[in-house]
């Protein structure tokens, strides 16, 4: 008794389909890293480079001469709240790399004693915020 033979074309189609399914499964998840890890600099947004699998802000003259916030640190001095201390600039990481303009003008003294000067709030070329405001004169 002879067993029925499948046509070669059918076998080839079945193998081809299996290969396609396997490839799709492989692409979908198996053994792949998550999208959070970068393998190329172009995996990161503009102005960032891939370092050790993570995107970090590029430190270049365009981005700032100073400590432009790769880690998102703020650079300006903490604003003082005492009557004798001017309010300092406050910059975010985004602002530190964004601006090519001048830093904010230092705040001028307040009109009354005990009021801190307002601080510059825009980021400077070097990523530093505007200088601290002068204390208001009593």
């Amino acid at each position: 008794m002879t067993s029925p033979r499948l046509p070669k074309v059918t076998i080839a189609r079945a193998l081809f389909s299996l290969c396609g399914l396997g490839f799709a499964q492989l692409l979908s998840n198996a053994g792949c890293s998550s999208g959070a890890i970068c393998y190329r600099n172009t995996d990161c947004p503009n102005g960032s480079d891939c370092k050790s699998g993570q995107c970090v802000r590029r430190l270049s003259s365009e981005a700032g001469l100073g400590e432009a916030g790769a880690s998102g640190d703020t650079n300006g001095a903490a604003g003082g709240s005492s009557p004798t201390t001017g309010g300092a600039g406050k910059s975010s990481a985004a602002a530190a790399t964004a601006g090519s303009g001048q830093g904010g003008a230092p705040g001028t003294g307040g009109s009354s004693a005990g009021t801190a000067g307002s601080a510059g709030s825009s980021a400077g070329l070097d990523g530093n915020a505007g200088g601290g405001g002068l204390a208001g004169s009593p």
Binding site: L27, S33, I37, Y39, R40, T42, N46, C50, K51, G53
Partner: protein, 183 residues
């Protein structure tokens, strides 16, 4: 008189015959259009591809992930006297994340009209650079006389370029499919 003496030609007639022959020969040589002995057959391609991308993130650990989607287009030039050999030119774009633009030049060897293999140089040129080599195979499923569906698995190693965060190469294991047209 003998008949031989009757067919004997005078030098004048012989000279005229020689002149006519030479002028006819020269005319045939210079007025004939050149023969196209080395023509090329042109095939156009357009396809999509993706697969696996492997690389070193800078930590010394080699990892894999899904490769970006590639859009590829190009031409194959085949010598009409030796259709097994071909030269292929491709331009491709990766359209996920930050889009890139690249190209490839490859030598193709067709084992039959529908099955071939190739090796070549591949590179990304903008916005960062990436260069290396690639090998692959082509399978064409014909649709009609001039069109076909091509399936192309390929393997590329790209060790050089500003797109690499570390000294390790980037590896592409891609599968592309698309339309091939005889132009």
């Amino acid at each position: 008189m003998s008949p031989v003496s009757n067919v004997r030609t005078s030098p004048k007639i012989a000279l005229m015959r020689g002149g006519v022959s030479i002028s006819a020969l020269l005319g045939a040589m210079f007025l004939a259009s050149p023969v196209r002995a080395d023509g090329y057959l042109l095939d156009g391609n357009f396809g999509l591809g993706s697969g696996l991308e492997g690389g070193d993130t800078g930590t010394g650990k080699f990892g894999w992930r899904r490769a970006r989607l590639h859009i590829t287009t190009g031409v194959d030039l085949r010598d009409d006297e030796s259709q097994a050999d071909a030269l292929g030119f491709r331009a491709f774009a990766e359209i996920e994340k930050r889009a890139t633009l690249g190209g490839e030049i490859r030598y193709e060897r067709w084992l039959s009209h529908n099955v071939g293999a190739y090796a070549g140089l591949i590179g990304v040129v903008t916005p960062e650079t990436l260069f290396g080599g690639s090998v692959g195979a082509d399978l064409v499923i014909p649709f009609g006389k001039r069109a076909g569906l091509f399936l192309e698995p390929s393997f590329s190693v790209l060790p050089v370029g500003s797109d690499l965060p570390s000294s390790g190469p980037l590896v592409w294991l891609l599968f592309s499919a698309g339309i091939k047209l005889g132009l």
